[in-house]
Structure formats: C-alpha cells, structure tokens
C-alpha cells in the first residue's frame, strides 16, 4: 500500500520523463502512459482505503481549499463586514453578505492562513471571542433582513490563549449556540476541512449540515484525545479511529445530512469541481428549507437538536 508521499514522488518522476520526452526528442510516450495508468490505479486504491488518520491529514492538508477559495468560486459579490463592535475584528472568522445563485445570504466562514505570515493574522483559523461575537452580529443582521445563513466551517478549534480566555470565549460560544437554536432564518452549515469542537459548533448549529468527504468533525482533536485518555502521543491514530470523526461515519451515525464526494486525493486536486458540488448542495438545501414556514423550520431544527444523543432507557422502579 502506497502512501501519499510515494504517490507524489511517482507523479514527479512522470513529469521528469515528460520533460525528457519533449527536450531530447526520445520517445517515451508508452512508458509515460504506462506509469500514468499505474499512478491512477495506485491513487484510486490509496484513496479508497484511507484510514481515519489519513483523512485527518487530508482535512488539514496545506493545499486544501479554504473558505475564501470557496467564497470566490461559489458566491458573487462577497461583501465582507468587519468587527464585533466591542473589541476588534477577528481574521480567523469572516462574515459578510454575498449572493448565492443570485440570492442574498449572510456568510460565516472560518479562514486558515496559507503562509506563516497570514497565519499570524488568522491564527490558523482559530477564532477568538471577537470572532464569535462578530458572527452573532451577522446572525442578528441576517434575521432582521431575512437572509439565509451559510456557514463554512474549518477550524482546529477556538483559540486557546489568555486573551481569548479573558474575553470569555466559552461564554461567547454558548451565546452563539443559543442564538442559532432560535434564529428565524434558514441555516446551512458545511464542514470544508476541520470541524474542531465547540469552536466549530459555535457557527454550526443549522437546519442542514453537510461535510466534504475528507473533512472531519469532532469533540476533540485526535491529539487531544490521545493525550487525555491514553496519555500517550503515539495513540493519536487510534484516537482518530475511536472518535468516529470522518464524514462518511458521521452520516451513518445520522448527525449530518450529506457527504460531498471529493476528487481522488482531496478537494485540492480538482477545486473547481469541488466548489461546483458544494455550491449545488448549498443551493439545493436552501431551496428545500427556504420554502418552509419559519415556525416549521424552527420546530424541525429544535427536534434535530433536542433528540441529539444516544443513551439507554431503563424501566423505572
């Protein structure tokens, strides 16, 4: 079984042969074709048998498309709104208005940085209280003007730092959960990369929740679970498996509504196709729930969350 590195290496070798073919006029086309076929079958085999930990790595892949990539590809007229009106503007959680298929929507989007420089600003997609409070402001705006909310989730978690704690990040998350439970507009959330715990849920209470095939959604990172439960870093892969954090598994468990298939190798391998699929899905879900009377929509959302959880009922004495 090959790993991703081997596949990349093979791809680079094929590229070398192609250049040799062109430059020196040596006919290698048969060899190249053979290797390409081999690469495709290896890649298909690899991505059909991904372990949960390998999916975690794809969800965190440095080339993975981020929220702004999707915003640009799926929406027109994204008009960003800034600031929580209290302490500042969070660059890890963006909000704004945009059009999806012509319809105005309010957007909440967690954004990771591509470069070290950008991550200084975006804190690797980890929002602080000002981010969650800005999101809540955007929710209120959406409700006031009947804009549906589209939420793009991609965060390792809420920002763990002294400033965030002093700003009551837990309280900010809690307030969002409360607000979203009762927000009088349709909400569709999509996990496009990492759905990291409360930091993700704080913009993820929705009427429909979809996930890209290689995205993850979990109560804690595999690393965190390994450290707390096993007290061994080496158990990270086992923790990843135990947490049941992959999109296909979460669909089986009935906690999300749809898994959007990714191109072999991940969303970054064919971004336009991925963005197209996600857009279609968002448009379809919004169309389905957009026609419901708001009371019915809220009742259905309430039932969705009220019934969340699994336990055993015993007969009472």
């Amino acid at each position: 079984m090959s790993d991703e590195k081997t596949l990349d290496l093979l791809e680079a070798k094929i590229q070398e042969l192609r250049e040799l073919n062109k430059k020196d006029g040596i006919d290698l086309s048969n060899e190249i074709l053979r290797l390409e076929t081999k690469l495709e079958s290896l890649r298909a085999e690899f991505y059909a048998n991904l372990s949960d930990w390998e999916r975690v790595k794809i969800a965190r892949h440095p080339k993975r498309p981020y929220a702004l990539d999707y915003l640009e590809a799926m929406f027109t007229d994204f008009y960003e709104l800034h600031g929580d009106r209290l302490v500042g503007d969070d660059r890890a959680l963006l909000v704004g208005l945009a059009r999806l298929d012509g319809q105005p929507v309010a957007v909440l989007a967690q954004q990771k940085g591509r470069s070290t420089e950008e991550n200084k600003e975006r804190l690797f997609g980890m929002a602080r209280p000002q981010g969650y409070r800005k999101a809540r402001r955007a929710m209120a705006l959406a409700e006031r003007f009947s804009f549906p909310v589209v939420s793009l989730i991609d965060t390792p978690g809420a920002y763990p730092g002294l400033e965030a704690e002093a700003g009551n990040i837990g309280g900010a998350i809690a307030e969002n959960l409360l607000a979203m439970a009762r927000l009088r507009v349709p909400i569709v959330a999509a996990v496009i990369g990492e759905g990291g715990s409360g930091g993700a849920l704080a913009i993820g209470v929705a009427d429909r929740v979809v996930m890209l095939e290689n995205s993850i959604y979990s109560v804690i990172s595999p690393e965190g679970a390994a450290a707390i439960l096993w007290k061994e870093k080496e158990k990270t892969q086992e923790a990843a498996r135990s947490l049941n954090l992959t999109a296909p598994r979460l669909l089986e468990l009935g906690v999300i509504d749809e898994v959007l298939p990714e191109p072999p190798g991940g969303a970054h391998r064919d971004f336009q196709r991925m963005a197209g699929l996600l857009k279609q899905s968002l448009v379809r879900h919004l169309a389905e729930i957009g026609t419901l009377p708001i009371a019915d929509l809220l009742a259905a959302r309430y039932r969705r969350y009220r019934s969340a959880g699994r336990y055993r009922t015993l007969s009472d004495r």
Binding site: S242, A308, Y311
Partner: protein, 280 residues
C-alpha cells in the same frame, strides 16, 4: 454491580450512609478534624476554612430546604454509541464510576425547595468521569428544564464538570447545542435559570449551558474557563497569571455575576430566586 442491572434503576436519597471513620485529616492545614463537624459545616474545614470536595448528594443537602428533596432523574444510563475503548472499554469505565459513586450517571435531577421556593435542580458529580457531559447528562439537563416549564418553576444547575464526554465523540459535542436549544424554551417561558459554577466548570460545559444562566454565581474556589492551562501552554506557550481560570479571574473579566462562599450559597440562592418567584 447488581444495583445497576436493567429494570432496577437506582434513585438517590439523602439518608446518610454509615461512615466507618470518625476523623479525617485536612489536606490544607493538616489538622485532624471530626468528620461530622466537617459535614455539618458544608464540607468546610472547621479549623482552616478549606473547602473539601462535595459530592452531588452533599451539594444538594447543603443547598436545599430540609426534607424537600426528590430525585426525579430520568431512568437513563450511558450507552456506548461509538464502541469506544481507550485504556479500557467505555462501558466498563461507566460501570466503575457507578460503583464508586453509587450514582446512575454524572448528574442528579431533583425537585426541591430553596427558601420555600419550589425549583427543579440539576447537580453534577465530578467523581463520575470528571462530571463530563455526554448524551445522558445532556438529556437530563434538557428534561430538567422541561420539567421546570411543566411545573412553572425556576431551574437551578450546579456545574462540576471538566467538559464534554470524549468517549461519546460527536454526540457529546452536540449536547452543547441541545442544552442551549432547550434553554431557549425556558427563556421564552419566562422562567429563571440560575447557574452555579463550582470547581471545575470548564470546556464544553462552560461553553454551553453553564454560561447561559440568567444569573451566574461562582462558588469561591471554582475553576472556570474554556481551554485548560496545559492546552494553552502546549499550543502557544503563553505565560499565564496565577489566578488563571479562578473565580476571581472570571469575576474580574465579567463572566459571572457574583462569587459566593460555600456557606452563603443557600442564602444567596434563596435571595435571588425571591426576586423572580414568591415563596409558597
């Protein structure tokens, strides 16, 4: 243990268990103190004032009017939706916690009265897997708020929890949204929710139901916050102040309304409830 076999759901009562030892040593001042004195003193060292840990049962006893306690918890216990196994299988961990605490789960839901005011009360027990919130706790808290609505009385929650029950994965995360959703109903019904944070009220519990009280009171000595000091130091190696995530930190930064001494909590609770409801 036999008492947790199906069809035999244990309800908690406040009758004192026979206690084999009469004396205990205070871990703070080292003084040998008479156990009964400690108990009668809300588990506070009569010598130095150190707060000893309170079980859910002891907590209830220290807060409510005598003779008003009734365990109304739903007869539910933890399932194992993910087949989770870390260093031991999840349900074995649960069974051990049940045996050690004599409780069916990490929370007791009760009807009671404080200063003559009927309330529905939820009290977490930290001994039960760190008081962590899984599906059972989320359901019990939700049910408790529905009971409060049905009885038209206030809801009081005493938190003592490290956060979400990791072993239930996404289901435990969703309890944060679930309890928040039911809390919205309580607000719409104009019924008060008093949240009392004790040692510890952190992570998934602090970032959901515990922070959504109409009034939030911390017990002196509480630990309150989202990300633990180790997480912060491991992630961003930041120096933390000595009072990090203490009751005074939460108070100074405005997370909570008040800090109360343990021995004053009962009176404080009665006082607040009195603004919302007439005693019967």
């Amino acid at each position: 243990m036999a008492i947790f076999k199906d069809r035999n759901y244990l309800r908690v009562n406040l009758d004192k268990d026979a206690d084999e030892s009469l004396w205990m040593r205070c871990k703070s001042c080292g003084e040998l103190v008479f156990k009964r004195r400690v108990r009668e003193n809300s588990n506070i060292c009569p010598h130095c004032g150190e707060y000893f840990f309170l079980t859910a049962r002891e907590r209830i006893e220290s807060l409510i009017d005598e003779g008003t306690f009734k365990d109304i918890s739903k007869p539910i216990v933890d399932a194992d939706p993910l087949g989770f196994q870390d260093t031991k299988p999840y349900l074995q961990r649960v069974a051990e916690a049940q045996e050690a605490t004599g409780l069916p789960s990490a929370i007791i839901i009760a009807s009671a009265a404080v200063a003559g005011i009927p309330i529905v009360l939820g009290v977490m027990d930290f001994r039960f897997i760190g008081g962590s919130m899984g599906s059972v706790m989320g359901e019990q808290i939700s049910y408790a708020m529905e009971e409060a609505i049905g009885r038209r009385c206030p809801f009081v929650l005493i938190s003592s929890s490290g956060g979400a029950r990791i072993q239930e994965g996404i289901f435990s995360l969703l309890q944060m949204a679930k309890t928040a959703a039911v809390r919205a109903c309580l607000a719409e019904e104009r019924l008060p929710f008093i949240s009392i944070m004790t040692y510890p009220t952190t992570a998934g519990v602090q970032a959901s139901i515990a922070s959504l009280g109409d009034v939030i009171i911390a017990e002196k000595g509480a630990m309150i916050g989202f990300a633990g000091p180790r997480v912060i130091q491991n992630t961003i190696s930041e120096q933390l102040p000595a009072n990090y995530q203490t009751d005074s930190f939460a108070y100074q930064h405005g997370f909570i309304d008040r800090v109360a001494n343990r021995e004053d909590l009962r009176q404080e609770l009665g006082k607040i409830l009195g603004f919302f409801v007439e005693a019967r």
